[in-house]
C-alpha cells in the first residue's frame, strides 16, 4: 500500500521486463510509470511524494549506477531498487553503499520485489517527513541573529554561561540574555528540547573554525 501519492517508477530497456513489471506492480495496487531509459526518467519532473525507482543496471546510455550518481548529485531523494540481468559483487556493493534500497538479480521473485518496493516507499515517506521536519526546524533557526546562533551552538554543547562568555568574549550577563532570546524564538524550554530541535534541523556542533552549518 502506498500513500495517496506514492509512485513506482520502472526504468528498463527491455520491453518485456517493463511490461511485466508494470503489470505486477499494478496488480499490487501501486501507481507505476515506466521508462525505457534513465535519461527519459530524468527528463520527467520530480515527483512530490514517496517515490520508488526500480532500475536495471545494464542499459545502453545512462545505466543504473550512473542514474544513482546523478540523483545523488542532484540531491534527489528517490529510493532506488536495482534489478539486473547480471550483476557482480562490486557493483552490488557500490550500489548499496550509495544508498540503494536493494539489489535484485533477475529473475527475481515477485514477492521479493514487492517487499522492496514497499520498503522503498516507506523509506521515501520517512525521508520526506524528515526533510519537511528539517526544513521547518531550520526556518526557526533562521530567526536567530548571528550572535544568538553562536551562543546557541555553544549552549547545546553543555557549556556554562560563564564559559560561553569566555569563549565568545562576552559578559556572562550578555550570554544569559542571548540564551533567553534563543529559547524564546525557538519555542523550547529545556536545553534538551533545544538539542532535539537542532538535531531535527541538522545543525551540528561548531567546528573549531566556527563554520556555520
Amino acid at each position: 500500500m502506498t500513500g495517496t501519492n506514492g509512485i513506482v517508477f520502472v526504468i528498463d530497456d527491455d520491453k518485456s521486463v517493463r511490461k511485466s513489471l508494470k503489470r505486477l506492480l499494478e496488480s499490487a495496487d501501486y501507481n507505476t510509470e515506466v521508462f525505457d531509459s534513465a535519461a527519459q526518467f530524468l527528463a520527467r519532473h520530480s515527483h512530490q511524494g514517496p517515490t520508488c525507482v526500480i532500475v536495471d543496471v545494464k542499459m545502453p546510455g545512462l545505466n543504473g549506477i550512473d542514474l544513482q550518481e546523478a540523483l545523488i548529485q542532484r540531491r534527489r531523494e528517490e529510493q532506488l531498487v536495482f534489478i539486473t540481468g547480471y550483476g557482480n559483487i562490486p557493483m552490488c556493493a557500490q550500489a548499496m553503499k550509495a544508498g540503494a534500497v536493494d539489489f535484485l538479480p533477475k529473475p527475481f521473485k515477485p514477492r521479493e520485489l514487492l517487499k522492496c518496493v514497499e520498503r522503498a516507499l516507506n523509506r521515501s515517506t520517512e525521508q520526506r517527513a524528515r526533510a519537511t521536519d528539517k526544513s521547518e526546524a531550520r526556518r526557526l533557526f533562521d530567526l536567530l541573529t548571528p550572535r544568538e546562533f553562536e551562543v546557541m551552538q555553544l549552549v547545546i554543547t553543555g557549556m556554562l554561561n560563564k564559559q560561553i562568555g569566555g569563549e565568545l568574549g562576552m559578559a556572562e550577563k550578555t550570554v544569559k540574555v542571548h540564551r533567553g532570546r534563543v529559547m524564546q524564538k525557538l519555542g523550547v524550554i529545556s536545553v534538551a528540547d533545544l538539542v532535539r530541535l537542532t538535531q531535527r534541523a541538522g545543525i551540528t556542533a561548531p567546528a573549531k573554525d566556527k563554520t556555520k552549518v
Binding site: D14, V17, I83, K109
Partner: protein
C-alpha cells in the same frame, strides 16, 4: 872371279834401286861397287911387286873402303830403318878422317913379302901399327856395334820381316865387319901374314842381300797376284754396283779421292741428258745454275777436305734446259783399311716439293694471318722431330717472346697445374683415336695472372697411322669464362632450383639446388626430357603444353589456380612453384625455369589456417565466456518477464477483478518470453558447436522486416529513423535466421550508436537489399561521422571497439557469421556522409 860375282849380284840391286827408287837398294849397290873397287885394289896389291906400288894402291883403296863403310851405314839405316844415327855418323866421320890422314901421313907398311895364297904367289904387307890405324880400327869397332845394335832393334820390332832382316842381313853384316876388321887388324900387327882380303867376307853380305832380293821379288810376285785377284773382285762388285745404281730412281754419283767424279748413274744421265764422259771429272758442274755454283762448290770442297758428309741444294739443268732444284747428299767412303776413297752421293729433284712447300708456306701464312685477325693463336708440333712452330698470336697468348725458342714442353708448363691432368687425358685420347679435342683450360702467366684458353687440337697421322703432327688453335676465353663463371656462380648460388631447357624440351643446364630438390645427379639430367620432373599423371599432356608455351613464350609463373607438383627421382612428389622465363640462346630459344619447393610454405599455410580456425573456435568459446554476462542478461530478461507476468496474473485473479482479456495478454507475453529464452539457449548451443549450423532457406527481406520491428523501440529511443529499401524477387539464401537476425541487430544498433551526436533530423538508418550478380546483398547505412582509418582496418577484428565499454566482439562475430554463411562483409564511408556496412550472401536457387 870374285869381282865378276860381285858385279853380277850388284847389278840387280842397282836396277831395283833405280827403278823402284828404293834408297836401300841403291846404296847397297853403291856399297857393292865399293867392294868391287876394294877387290880390284886388293888384287892389284896382291899382284904388286913393289912396295911403292903396294902402298900407293893401298892408299887409293882407302877411298872405296870409306865409301863402303859410309854406304853400309847408310844402308843399314835405310834397310833396317833402325840404327842410331849418332853412332853411324861418328863411324863415317872417323873413316873420313882416316882417309884424309892416310894421304897425308906416312904409310905404316914397311915392306912386302910374298906368300903363297890359294895356289898363287901374292904379296902380303909387313907393317906397323900407327895411331891412324888404331883410329880406323876403332871406327870399325864402332861400325860393328852400330850394325849389331841396328839388327837387334830390327829384331825387336817383332815383325817377321824385321826378324828376317835382322838375322840374315844383320848377321851377315856383322860377320863381315868382324871378319874384315879382324883380319886386317891381324895383318897390320903382323900376326897373320895374309894379303888384304876385305872384299872376301863381303860375299856373305852379298849372298844375304841376294837372298833378300830374291825373297822380295818372290813376295812382290805374290802381292801382284793378290792385287790382280782383288782387282778382279773389285771389278765384279763394281759391276754389281753399277747395275744397281742405274736401276735406282735416284740420281747417284761417285767421286774419287781427288774430288773428281767418276760415276753417274742412269737416272742422272737421263736427267741431265748428257753422257758419262761429259759429266766425268768436273763436267757435271756445267749443269749447275751459275748462282748456285759458288755455294755448291764451297760446300763440296769443304766437306771433301774434312771427309764429312754434306747436303746441299742447288739448281741443276735438266735435259729440257730447265733448272730444277735438287737436294744433293754426299757421304765419304772408305775402304776396308779405312782409307778414304772418295764420295758417293744421291740427288733428288725437289722442285715440286719446294713448290708445295711454298704453297703450303703461303697457305700457312694466310691461315696465320686469318687466325691472328680472329685473335686465334695457331701452333703446330711435329711429333717426330718434336719441333714446334708457333704463331705470333699464340706466343702472345702463352706469353712467349717473339723471338724466343719455344718447345712444346714450355707450352705445357704454362698450363695451370689443376688443369694439366684434364688436358693430358684429352690429348692422349685424341692421339689414340687420331682425332682431336676441344677443351678449355687455365694458363698461368709469369706474373701469376690466370687466363682461360679455349683450344681445339687435331692429330694428323701418316699413312701408317703413326702420329706425325699436332695442330692447335687457341683463343683467350677469359672474358667468356668470366661471364660464364659469373653465370655459373649465379645459378649455383640461387636458392631456387634452376633448369635451362631447349626448344626440344631437353634439359641443358641445372644447378645444384635443383639436383638436391629432385634427388638427381647432374649427369643424370643433362639431355633428358623435361617430363622427368613431372608427376606421371601429367606426363602425357605435358609436351603439348610445353609446345604451346614455346609458340608464345613469355615470362610468367605457372599454375595459377592449380596446384603444381614435382616428381623426385624416388617417385615421391612435392608441391612446387614454377616460374618460366624465355631466353635467347646461341642455338635457339631456351627456357629458364625456376623451381621453388613450396611444401614448407604450404605446410605453414595449412598450419596457419588450422590456427586461425582454432582461434576462431577458441574465440568463440572465449566469446561464450565473454558472452556469459550477455547471455545471462539475455536469459534473465525474458525470465523476469515471465515471473512478473505470472505473479501479476495471479494477483489479478486473487483480487477478484479478473479481466480475461488482460489475463490472455499476460499469458501471450509469458509464452513469448519463454520462446525468447529458448532462442537464446539455442544460439548458445550454435555458437559453441563447431560446424553443424542451422541451414534454412531464408528470405533476407523477411529478416530485415523482423529486425526492423525488433529494433524499432531502440530506434525511437535514439531518435533514429529506420528506412528500408528492399529488392523485389530477392532470391533466398541458406543460413541460420537467428544468426542473421543477430547480424542485422548488431549493425543497426551500431548505426544508432554512431549517430548519437548527429542532429535528430538527420538520424537516418537505411537498410537495403539488392541482387548482386548471383549473390544477395544487404547494406546498412547511417549518417554518422563515418569510419576512421584505423577503425576501417581493424573494425572486424576481435576485441577491437571504439566504444568505451564495448567488448569489441560484435563485428567480429558478425563477420564470423557471414563468412560461415559463405558470404563477405565490408564497410566503407559514404560520399554523402556516414558509414555503410554491406554484405553479400550466396543465393540458393531461384
Amino acid at each position: 872371279m870374285l869381282i865378276g860375282g860381285c858385279v853380277i849380284l850388284a847389278l840387280p840391286h842397282l836396277f831395283v834401286g833405280i827403278r823402284q827408287r828404293r834408297g836401300a837398294h841403291l846404296v847397297f849397290a853403291l856399297a857393292t861397287f865399293g867392294v868391287i873397287g876394294i877387290a880390284i885394289g886388293e888384287l892389284v896389291m896382291m899382284r904388286s911387286r913393289s912396295l911403292d906400288q903396294f902402298i900407293r894402291v893401298r892408299q887409293w883403296t882407302y877411298v872405296p873402303i870409306t865409301a863402303l863403310i859410309i854406304a853400309l851405314v847408310w844402308f843399314v839405316r835405310l834397310y833396317f830403318r833402325t840404327g842410331r844415327l849418332w853412332l853411324g855418323l861418328s863411324v863415317c866421320a872417323l873413316r873420313v878422317l882416316t882417309l884424309i890422314a892416310s894421304f897425308k901421313s906416312l904409310p905404316a907398311i914397311t915392306g912386302i913379302q910374298s906368300r903363297r895364297f890359294l895356289g898363287e904367289i901374292v904379296s902380303a904387307p909387313i907393317g906397323q901399327v900407327t895411331p891412324w890405324i888404331r883410329v880406323s880400327e876403332f871406327s870399325s869397332l864402332l861400325l860393328l856395334i852400330y850394325v849389331i845394335d841396328a839388327s837387334i832393334s830390327s829384331w825387336r820390332q817383332g815383325t817377321s820381316e824385321g826378324r828376317r832382316k835382322a838375322i840374315i842381313v844383320g848377321g851377315s853384316m856383322t860377320s863381315f865387319v868382324l871378319l874384315a876388321s879382324g883380319v886386317t887388324a891381324l895383318i897390320n900387327r903382323d900376326i897373320v901374314s895374309l894379303p888384304y882380303l876385305i872384299s872376301f867376307p863381303f860375299t856373305g853380305i852379298l849372298m844375304a842381300m841376294s837372298f833378300e832380293l830374291g825373297f822380295n821379288l818372290f813376295r812382290a810376285g805374290q802381292v801382284a797376284k793378290d792385287l790382280e785377284r782383288s782387282q778382279a773382285s773389285l771389278f765384279e762388285s763394281e759391276e754389281r754396283f753399277r747395275t744397281m745404281a742405274n736401276a735406282a730412281p735416284v740420281m747417284i754419283w761417285m767421286s774419287a779421292s781427288d774430288k773428281l767424279c767418276t760415276f753417274f748413274n742412269k737416272a742422272w744421265l737421263e736427267f741431265t741428258g748428257r753422257t758419262m764422259e761429259q759429266e766425268w771429272g768436273n763436267g757435271w758442274t756445267e749443269g749447275v745454275h751459275p748462282d748456285d755454283f759458288g755455294g755448291c762448290l764451297k760446300t763440296y770442297v769443304e766437306a771433301f777436305d774434312a771427309h764429312e758428309p754434306f747436303v746441299m741444294q742447288y739448281r741443276l739443268r735438266n735435259q729440257k734446259g730447265e733448272y730444277r732444284w735438287v737436294t744433293d747428299k754426299g757421304v765419304p767412303r772408305f775402304n776396308r783399311s779405312g782409307d778414304f776413297r772418295g764420295y758417293i752421293g744421291a740427288c733428288v729433284d725437289i722442285t715440286d716439293l719446294l713448290q708445295q712447300q711454298n704453297t703450303l708456306h703461303e697457305f700457312e701464312e694466310r691461315v696465320t694471318l686469318a687466325a691472328e685477325a680472329a685473335h686465334l693463336g695457331v701452333w703446330e708440333l711435329d711429333t717426330r722431330t718434336n719441333e714446334l712452330w708457333i704463331s705470333d698470336k699464340a706466343r702472345e697468348l702463352f706469353q712467349f717472346d717473339r723471338d724466343a725458342r719455344v718447345t712444346y714442353q714450355m707450352m705445357q708448363e704454362r698450363v695451370h697445374p689443376e688443369d694439366r691432368a684434364l688436358r693430358d687425358s684429352a690429348l692422349n685420347n685424341a692421339i689414340k683415336t687420331h682425332g682431336g679435342y676441344e677443351i678449355e683450360y687455365r694458363i698461368i702467366h709469369s706474373d701469376g695472372t690466370v687466363r682461360w684458353i679455349g683450344a681445339r687440337t687435331r692429330c694428323i697421322a701418316d699413312e701408317n697411322g703413326k702420329l706425325t703432327r699436332l695442330l692447335g688453335v687457341s683463343m683467350d676465353v677469359t672474358e667468356r669464362r668470366g661471364a660464364q663463371e659469373l653465370f655459373r656462380i649465379a645459378t649455383e648460388a640461387s636458392i631456387n632450383g634452376i633448369i635451362l631447357v631447349n626448344d626440344r624440351g631437353r634439359v641443358v643446364l641445372t644447378n645444384t639446388h635443383l639436383e638436391e630438390l629432385f634427388g638427381y645427379g647432374r649427369q643424370e639430367l643433362i639431355g633428358k626430357p623435361i617430363e622427368i620432373f613431372v608427376p606421371e599423371r601429367f606426363v602425357k599432356a605435358h609436351p603439348t603444353m610445353w609446345k604451346k608455351y614455346f609458340d608464345a613464350p613469355e615470362r610468367r609463373m605457372l599454375g595459377h589456380g592449380r596446384e603444381l607438383f614435382g616428381r623426385r627421382k624416388d617417385g615421391t612428389e612435392f608441391p612446387v612453384e614454377i616460374g618460366l622465363s624465355p631466353v635467347q640462346g646461341p642455338d635457339g630459344l631456351l627456357v629458364l625455369a625456376t623451381v621453388v619447393d613450396i611444401s614448407e610454405r604450404k605446410r605453414a599455410e595449412a598450419e596457419a589456417q588450422q590456427r586461425r580456425e582454432e582461434v576462431v573456435r577458441l574465440s568463440r568459446i572465449n566469446l561464450l565466456g565473454e558472452m556469459t554476462a550477455t547471455i545471462a542478461h539475455e536469459l534473465n530478461q525474458p525470465l523476469s518477464g515471465i515471473t512478473s507476468n505470472s505473479s501479476a496474473a495471479q494477483r489479478f485473479i486473487d483480487r477478484g477483478s479478473v479481466d480475461l482479456g488482460e489475463i490472455r495478454e499476460i499469458l501471450v507475453d509469458i509464452a513469448a518470453d519463454a520462446r525468447r529464452a529458448s532462442d537464446v539457449i539455442q544460439r548458445i548451443r550454435n555458437t559453441v558447436k563447431k560446424g553443424a549450423a542451422v541451414r534454412e532457406r531464408i528470405d533476407l527481406n523477411e529478416i530485415v522486416t523482423k529486425v526492423a520491428h525488433m529494433v524499432a523501440p531502440d530506434a525511437r529511443l535514439h531518435s533514429c529513423e529506420l528506412e528500408m529499401y528492399l529488392a523485389k524477387n530477392l532470391p533466398p539464401v541458406e543460413g541460420d535466421p537467428v544468426e542473421l537476425q543477430q547480424v542485422l541487430i548488431n549493425l543497426t544498433t551500431n548505426a544508432f550508436d554512431a549517430m548519437k551526436k548527429v542532429p535528430a533530423w538527420n538520424r537516418k538508418v537505411e537498410i537495403s537489399t539488392v541482387i548482386n550478380d548471383g549473390m544477395v546483398g544487404l547494406s546498412v547505412r547511417d549518417h554518422g561521422p563515418g569510419i576512421s582509418e584505423e577503425a576501417r582496418e581493424r573494425m572486424f577484428e576481435q576485441f577491437f571497439t571504439t566504444k568505451e565499454d564495448g567488448l569489441g566482439m560484435g563485428l567480429a562475430i558478425v563477420r564470423s557469421i557471414i563468412e560461415s554463411h559463405g558470404g563477405k562483409i565490408a564497410a566503407d564511408n559514404v560520399d554523402g556522409g556516414g558509414a555503410r556496412f554491406y554484405l553479400n550472401l550466396p543465393s540458393k536457387g531461384v
